[in-house]
């Protein structure tokens, strides 16, 4: 049986192309509170605590925490090849744009459907930021 595929328009923030398995977080993310050597979230009280965001397509509402650490956190993940492949967000903010710009990870927002209703962890996602398109292949249930 062919998996269900959904194509949605989005708004490019940082260009490029990235694909991978979706990891959805309903909570904002601070990249500094991940282990750069593995990509595992080490923020104890976070819903993604213990999960690995390396090479995933990360779906989350927004960034959080001090501007200094957010950028360094993503930069360190990227220098260990453990950055996300692409990022889909709801509320864009400058710190996150700069982080993505510096490590060249595609970043998009304004999906034509609510990403938290449409995308589940484990779905396969292609983010073509240049064309402003996100393609979701639903995980077999």
């Amino acid at each position: 049986m062919k998996n269900l595929e959904i194509t949605l328009k989005c708004h490019k923030i940082v260009g490029g192309y990235g694909e991978g398995e979706a990891l959805v977080s309903n909570e904002p993310i601070c990249f500094y509170l991940t282990d750069p050597k593995t990509g595992i979230v080490r923020e104890r009280s976070h819903e993604l605590a213990g999960k690995n965001l390396a090479n995933k397509v990360l779906v989350f509402p927004s960034g959080k925490a001090s501007s200094v650490v957010q950028i360094d956190g993503l930069f360190k993940l990227a220098s260990h090849n453990n950055a996300p492949k692409a990022m889909i967000v709801k509320d864009v903010e400058t710190v996150l744009i700069v982080s993505a710009f510096m490590v060249k990870v595609p970043l998009v927002d304004r999906l034509e459907r609510d990403p938290f209703e449409t995308i589940q962890t484990g779905d396969f996602i292609k983010v073509n930021a240049e064309k402003g398109i996100v393609i979701i292949t639903k995980r077999e249930s």
Binding site: K64, S67, V69, I71, F75, V92, T94, I97, V98, F101
Partner: protein, 401 residues
């Protein structure tokens, strides 16, 4: 986004690679927010940090010949010489810090190395258009001073300082400065630490937004406002807030919401603040250190530490640190505060952030701080949060609880 001919020439690299990269970043941000154009700024604050991500960008600009067009101050890194005499700071980490500080000098920044630049080195005025990074400085500048800045990153603020402009979006536009959440304060806010708890609680509840406060009975002090600004940006992202009657931009709640209604309302009583406090009480027993000055202590706060330590002796097993700005330390020395703290066995250090590798000696140590922001970044095995008076008492006793 509309670009002037000069901006296009910068993007074409006519003025060097440094300014080109700076403007490229600003244009990416402007495009993301659908900004119509760039607007001039009069000052900037770059939240330099002595970390690898920071180094990459500032060296990129420095090597490309970029130079700040408007006054651009810098955030703390660490006083390499001071720490070198005390501990083994890893050579590669110290080298990163040294290169960062050198590169900011090369791009013509003001080497303030302070996270409270609005107290002395770089003070915006009401209504000024600026680009201030440092998540605790952004809300202070917007709300307490009434200047206009977005929640900048170190890199976007530095880029804005180099170009002398920022994209017109977000909090540079009046309509975007309207309140989003009504916060009814029923809690008794007695002191600076109560504002720390208020910031932590409100940041956690609201996450991302512009709170408007009612029920605050007296004018908050500078230090109370600094604490609110810093702590609300630990679990959240609060770039602006209103306390009508006390902050400058709106004199009534209606004006703060620009005639609209709040998206959400919360009430804060003593109970919520007490719960927050209890959440931060993570340990008891013997302590190895006390860490104060996150954000940097003002002159007044350094004086308060001296008053509490006057004639006392810090316990042998406890390291006691006060981080402050270079300008505040000059006056703290003149007033005898530094001597009093040193006589008691404490350190007063400048240019230094608590989130830096210079603290590696305390990696497996347990201590106390009055700042949830200090505790959050996990430079230590455990950093319990409580009032300054309790921190000092524990430092003298060598234990807490």
């Amino acid at each position: 986004m509309y670009l002037t001919r000069e901006e296009e020439r910068i993007l074409d690299g006519e003025f060097g690679e440094g300014t080109q990269k700076a403007l490229e970043l600003l244009v990416a941000i402007g495009d993301a927010y659908d900004a119509e154009k760039m607007i001039p700024i009069s000052r900037a604050h770059a939240a330099s940090s002595g970390q690898e991500g920071d180094l990459y960008f500032v060296e990129l600009l420095a090597k490309g010949g970029a130079y700040c067009k408007v006054l651009t101050s810098t955030n703390p890194v660490y006083d390499i010489k001071y720490f070198d005499n005390l501990f083994e700071v890893p050579k590669d980490e110290a080298e990163v810090a040294r290169r960062v500080m050198e590169a900011y000098k090369r791009v013509g920044a003001i080497l303030s190395w302070s996270c409270i630049p609005y107290m002395a080195e770089n003070i915006p005025l009401y209504g000024e258009t600026v680009a201030f990074s440092e998540s605790s400085a952004t809300p202070y500048v917007n709300s307490v001073i009434g200047a206009r800045t977005n929640r900048e990153a170190a890199q976007s603020a530095l880029a804005a300082g180099v170009i002398g402009k920022t994209p017109k979006y977000g909090l540079h536009i009046k309509e975007n400065r309207k309140g989003t959440n009504l916060v009814k304060v029923e809690a008794t806010l007695k002191d600076e630490f109560d504002y720390t708890l208020l910031g932590y609680y409100v940041g956690k509840q609201i996450g991302y937004g512009i709170p408007v406060f009612t029920g605050i009975k007296r004018q908050p002090s500078t230090e109370e406002l600094i604490n609110f600004c810093a702590m609300s940006n630990v679990p959240g992202a609060i770039s602006m807030f209103y306390i009508p009657g006390f902050t400058v931009e709106a004199s009534t709640v209606e004006e703060a919401f620009q005639g609209g209604s709040p998206e959400d309302k919360i009430t804060v009583t003593d109970y919520e603040l007490k719960q927050c406090y209890e959440e931060l009480q993570t340990t008891s027993g013997k302590i190895d250190f006390v860490m104060l000055g996150c954000p940097h202590y003002t002159l007044k706060q350094v004086g308060e530490v001296a008053r509490l330590l006057n004639g006392k002796k810090i316990h042998d097993g406890v390291s006691f640190w006060v981080c402050t700005s270079a300008t505040a330390k000059v006056l703290a020395e003149r007033n005898g505060y530094v001597d009093t703290i040193k006589r008691a066995g404490g350190h007063v250090v400048v240019d230094t952030c608590i989130d830096e590798p210079c603290w590696i000696a305390y990696k497996n140590k347990v201590g106390m701080t009055d700042s949830p922001k200090c505790a959050y970044y996990r430079r230590f095995k455990e950093a319990m949060v409580t009032r300054l008076q309790d921190c000092v008492e524990a430092a003298i006793e060598g234990r807490w609880g």
